[in-house]
Amino acid sequence: TEWNVSVWGKRRAFTEHIHKLADLVSEKTGGEFTMNISYGGLSKNRENLDGISIGAFEMAQFCAGYHADKNRAITVLELPFLGVANLDEEVAVSHAIYAHPAVADEMAQWNAKMLMTSPMPQYNLVGTGEPRDELAEFDGMRVRATGGLGKAFSAVGGVPTSVTSSEAYQAMESGVVDTVAFAQHAHLSFGTINQAAWWTANLNPGTVNCPVVVNIDAYESLSDAEREALDSSVPEAIDYYLSNYGALLQRWDEVLAEKNVTKVMISDEELAKFKDVAGKPIHDAWIAEMSAQGLPAQELYDLVFKTLEDTRAN
């Protein structure tokens, strides 16, 4: 069996688990089951789920925030201030939500089945000018942040500004935005770190959730041995991703020092204020909106926190 896998951009920390998975699967099946990973050749990133639904390729990665209406159930994972502390917790929470029947149902409408997540650390801000470490200073700040994060910054007077990720560098340079919210690897690959004077080390407002899915028909037509090889390789691929991203995070502090970027620590008091306005109210609004659409929103929401508790207990 040969599978086509659709991802986008360039090979980076964010796609390493897919390469690892391909290696493992091929190894375990003696080269019977291979994956052909294509960066942008098979689909546009925001249409990967469509491609899976059509059956044009067998496996793909996408981000929930690209198109909330395609994947309403998992947008719970992109709510601001969920309090996810590290990548291990992000994996646990994501996989718990992916296993929920409401998510499986919604994905089945796209002929898709969740395979694994691509955990991303919290989207902290890099900014130009004076460091902003108090909530009051977010008032009138032009910030490049999409979806739930954008809403969070609006709640404290920030001005979310539309620029594409590839224009983020230029937008910062030109003052179209004052700050950009990305994960560390994206600050590196889109060059926004090169424009930065400061970086919020502990704002941790939330992140983007990017699952890897497979086409259901393709999955079901695998031989038992192939399916077993695929399923059993997921934990190992995720472990590989985590250790690889861990190394990148370690390098991050060096990068900050090298580029002379100030590490901004925000006081607990200020953080609590931010969470008050941008956390709970946005969570409640999400639960109300999604419940009205017939999703078990409260259940999904509670599952996040229950999983976090369980993970920390272990």
């Binding site: 086509n4 360039k10 052909n36 294509s38 942008g40 050749g41 098979l42 689909s43 546009k44 925001r46 249409e47 469509d50 491609g51 059509i54 059956g55 044009a56 620029v163 594409t164 590839s166 224009e167 230029q170 937008a171 340079e173 030109s174 003052g175 179209v176």
Partner: protein, 466 residues
């Protein structure tokens, strides 16, 4: 049959359809769709029962492309740049520019022809399309040159060649298209075109002055303008300066401060200024309506090729042909510079028979990765590279080179579009006349291209500042 063979057959078929006269946009889309069906069916071992499945998947995959690819903020520059050009015509900017150029520089040998070159260069700063520039100046500059005794063929040649400057000097629709296809920064490419564009203009002017000094009975200098007349000619042409300054400031602030916005915004603000100017000069609703319909027609023509070719490119993605081609090019036992020069010569030949935009769109998906690989990869540093420039800079340099090649092809027989347009506007000139008149400019262009290849700094200096 493996997917690469399918890729080659389909690509051959597409060129056959194009040669047979099928509209380029639809020939590419048709080939791409057939290729997708083929490749999906091959995946199922050509089982007759699976043909319907292959057809459905292929059609739905192709059906994603027109909306998906056209919905792009970067591509929105194309209609904006085209609109600027049409509005500039109604704003009287063309005549104002020509008049100013004439009063200031027509005193040199070959004066009016040199003035025409610089006026087209100035108009290039608001016009994104070469053909439109040539058409406009054929109406304005040729009669004046004929009046003072220029050879009519040479006069037409100057306009046809001058028109090509519009695609190098920003704004430029074709540079935007290149940036989209190769996924590089539009702003850097637009900046990069500026100096090579001016450089081409200077070489054209040098050629004309040289000819005027050598040939007897060449067009005489035009003298006798007073300083008062000269300064009086400036205000009507000023909006051009305003637009240039704004577009530059939106891409890059030369004084080291913040740029004012993104290139997309800069283009649109430039268009707005020209629009206000046109309204001020008496453009009313019927003219605006005409300008909008003409903008729509040209934009849709370009976008149809874009999505049509991208259906073919989607098929290439499944066939993995670009990788195979790139591997092949890099396995050739010749020096990378020789291969690059052969590629450029290939464009010169192809461009003799094809339209510039169609040519770039059809070939870049395969050729660009190969050129990047020649240089050492997309992310290579200048120190490790073959051509002595980083991956992104190589993308910019190659972009300017192929656009200059494409522009060169606008004045080469048998299908040099600019020459046809000039002949079309001027009933007293045949296409053969224009081709004959434009011949000296082949030499100028060959010199320019050789210099851009030999001294990449001409292209890369400005974008390396930004």
């Amino acid at each position: 049959m493996d997917s690469i063979e399918i890729g080659l057959w389909v690509t051959g078929g597409m060129f056959l359809l194009v040669v047979l006269g099928m509209r380029v946009a639809f020939a590419a889309a048709f080939a791409g769709l057939v290729g997708l069906i083929w490749i999906f069916w091959a995946k199922k071992g050509y089982d007759p029962e699976d043909f319907t499945w292959a057809l459905t998947v292929a059609v739905k995959t192709a059906g994603q492309v027109p909306h998906g690819k056209v919905s792009s903020q970067a591509l929105s520059l194309i209609p904006t740049f085209i609109l600027i050009g049409y509005l500039a015509y109604y704003a009287g900017l063309t005549r104002a520019l020509f008049e100013a150029a004439k009063r200031w520089i027509a005193w040199v040998p070959g004066g009016l022809a040199v003035s025409t070159v610089f006026a087209t260069a100035g108009f290039a700063a608001v016009s994104g399309a070469s053909v439109a520039t040539a058409a406009v100046f054929a109406r304005i500059a040729i009669p004046e040159m004929l009046k003072v005794g220029y050879d009519k063929r040479f006069a037409a040649g100057v306009v046809a060649a001058g028109g090509t400057l519009a695609s190098l000097i920003p704004p430029s629709a074709i540079l935007v298209i290149y940036a989209i296809i190769v996924e590089q920064d539009v702003g850097k490419l637009l900046l990069a075109g500026f100096i090579p564009g001016m450089f081409s203009a200077v070489i054209y002017a040098g050629l004309i002055i040289g000819l005027a000094l050598v040939l007897p009975n060449f067009g005489p200098p035009v003298k006798g303008f007073t300083w008062k007349q000269r300064f009086a000619s400036l205000p009507p042409a000023l909006p051009i300066v305003a637009v240039v300054v704004i577009i530059i400031f939106f891409v890059y602030n030369p004084f080291g401060g913040d740029a004012w916005g993104t290139p997309t915004e800069g283009g649109a603000i430039g268009a707005f200024i020209v629009f206000l100017m046109a309204v001020f000069r008496g453009m009313r609703l019927p003219e605006l309506k005409d300008a909008l319909i003409e903008t729509a027609k040209l934009s849709i023509m370009i976008f149809s090729i874009i999505w049509g070719v991208l259906i073919y490119v989607r098929f290439l993605g499944f066939a993995d042909l670009p990788t195979a081609f790139s591997d092949w090019i890099n396995s050739l036992p010749y020096s990378p510079m020789l291969i690059l020069i052969c590629i450029l010569l290939g464009y010169a030949v192809l461009g003799m028979f094809m339209d510039a935009i169609g040519m770039l769109l059809l070939t870049l998906p395969v050729v660009y990765p190969a050129v990047m690989a020649l240089n050492g990869g997309e992310m290579v540093s200048a120190a490790d590279s073959t051509f002595g420039m980083s991956g992104p800079m190589c993308a910019v340099w190659f972009g300017i080179l192929v656009v200059k090649m494409a522009e060169f092809c606008l004045i080469t027989p048998p299908i040099g579009l600019n020459c046809f347009v000039v002949a079309g506007v001027r009933p007293d000139l045949t296409v053969q006349d224009v081709f004959r008149g434009v011949t000296p400019f082949f030499i100028a262009d060959a010199v320019t291209i050789a210099l851009l290849v030999a001294f990449p700094a001409i292209v890369l200096w400005l974008p390396s500042l930004a």
